[in-house]
Symmetry: none
Subunit: 190 residues, 4 copies
């Protein structure tokens, strides 16, 4: 008996991300996903119930994935600025190296595929960052602003960096990284 090839799921995810990047969510067809993943269309339905399922599963996969990357090497006991820099770098690296995932998630947000519930659970994955920011405020290192706006500021700058690096083919040298971190840091510091 031929066993279910578990890394087919990955092929399908990769194919989907690539196609969404190139043509948007509207551009993906089961046919094109299958072709890109080098399998038959029917095979897609062995691994996923339907098109929606591919998209929502991939969405979940991306979200879970990023959550772990965002906080890798992050040491809660390290000084505020060190911790903040770690997370900031992680997110920047993630957004750029997995830019396709960001596009995919963004496109999903305004699609019928992702429901309200899923959207709100997304917020939870930033909790460690929120705790860090609270510490920074207590220690009067950063501005005493609602963390909602602090994270908005931080994420906004990062997203745009990722976009520009990708769209304009910029190399993200250490210098550029430092520059951008500096602006972000100056923006939030007390």
């Amino acid at each position: 008996m031929k066993l279910r090839d578990e890394n087919k799921t990955d092929q399908i995810f990769k194919a989907t991300l690539k196609l969404v990047k190139e043509n948007g969510l509207s551009g993906i067809t089961m046919q094109s996903v299958a072709k890109e993943a080098k399998i038959a269309t029917g095979t897609l339905y062995i691994y996923f119930k339907n098109k929606e399922s591919i998209i929502t599963s991939l969405f979940d996969h991306c979200v879970k994935n990023s959550a772990t990357i965002f906080f890798q090497h992050y040491d809660v006991s390290a000084p505020f600025k060190v911790g903040f820099h770690t997370i900031w770098s992680n997110i920047v690296q993630h957004r750029i190296s997995r830019f396709e995932e960001s596009i995919f998630i963004e496109q999903c947000f305004h699609s019928p595929y992702i429901d309200e519930e899923t959207k709100t659970t997304l917020k939870k994955m930033f909790e460690p960052l929120l705790e860090l920011l609270n510490r920074g405020k207590e220690q009067h290192i950063i501005k005493n602003i609602d963390s909602f706006w602090l994270t908005s500021f931080m994420i906004g700058t990062i997203n745009e960096i990722a976009k520009r690096v990708t769209y304009f083919n910029k190399r993200l040298t250490k210098e550029v990284l430092d520059l951008n971190f500096q602006m972000c840091w100056d923006g939030i510091k007390a």
Copy 2:
């Protein structure tokens, strides 16, 4: 004989924006656009050659529109910070009040509808801002960083503000606005 009703173009644009916000680019069909615009499907083809034409025309319309709004009330001869604040406020206001347009443009970027050429012409509309930033740098008011990254920083924060105001139904009080401008300003100032 009734003249080509210029009002209808607007209805079509509005319908398209609404539908893209609700269902993404993938979600719009000529039928749904017609229904939302309260006209017949055939009528769409009197005003636009085809579906692609609706999307690219709307894209152009949005871009041109924002270009004028971004720099309204902007006085080239005013002090740097005043000018910067004017533009910053304009963009924030625009992004929020016409959030649907932002979503639309974002979705278009990763669709087969917008070609590379169109994307690059987008950059041109920020030229007055670039000139202002150059002045700021000359006057040592802001950091001496490539304007590419300065605008990235500025636009990134604004985009995220708009998203959050919309998605989380936040009211944008003067206080919140000031807060956010302060962060942006601290980030870029020398």
Copy 3:
């Protein structure tokens, strides 16, 4: 504006009946129905919501149709045997001239298309016959048997006549008709 062509429904019904006769319910595809009805597949969906709708609508159409035919020229005040003969003849004629409909209804019975409710409402259309049979029993003209079995007997013989006439290409002469009616009559008469 092109108006909805109301006799397209009929074309679709006719095409469906023909195809079900030739290939069974399993054999009909939307493509084949459209082709037989000489319209495009998409057009089917203007007149019917989906395949199921074609089938259930046709089912209803057939049932309603037969109900009127079964009792045409039937005079409630006529003598029992005359009335019974009228109805018997009507049903025979109907089953033969519209044999396709009979096949269709029979096939529907064992398909996922027709629900239990629909099946039971079918019984109602025989009520005038039931009343006639009651009169016959009261007048001691026919056997005093539950009408359920009397109608079973009557309908059973008729169905088989129709099948045989059709499958074996028999001509239904007056003689053959009389012969068959005689057997039916002898079977139920007291």
Copy 4:
């Protein structure tokens, strides 16, 4: 090495009959047959060449089966009425106890699976009955009508009895049986 398990053919036949009863010929898929028969889809192709083969084999199986049942306990030398009653009872019992087979055969008749040739060979299995009827006519016990219509009459009533017993969940008591036989007998007797 395990031998070709003849039992599996039966499982497949049973599964097919059940599914045809529930969903019609259109409703059966190789997947559903395999599942119902509790085997793998691939296994179906060890026992049968393809889907058509399952259906035609089952058709043959049903026909052969009924042929033997129809004439069991039938004594050619018994008086006419006794012989006729035996056959009549056998067919009734068969039609009811194996109602699924009747549905299956009926559905096959209007499907692409059964060819004209197969249909006509069906007639042959009634030959002993035809001989009996000839005897009945010679002995002036029954009407001198073409046996084609005599069998039509007999089979028609039986089929309808079977349908009604099944669809309306009627219990077939000795009384009901006698009643129905009486009608049939009165119908054909001279």
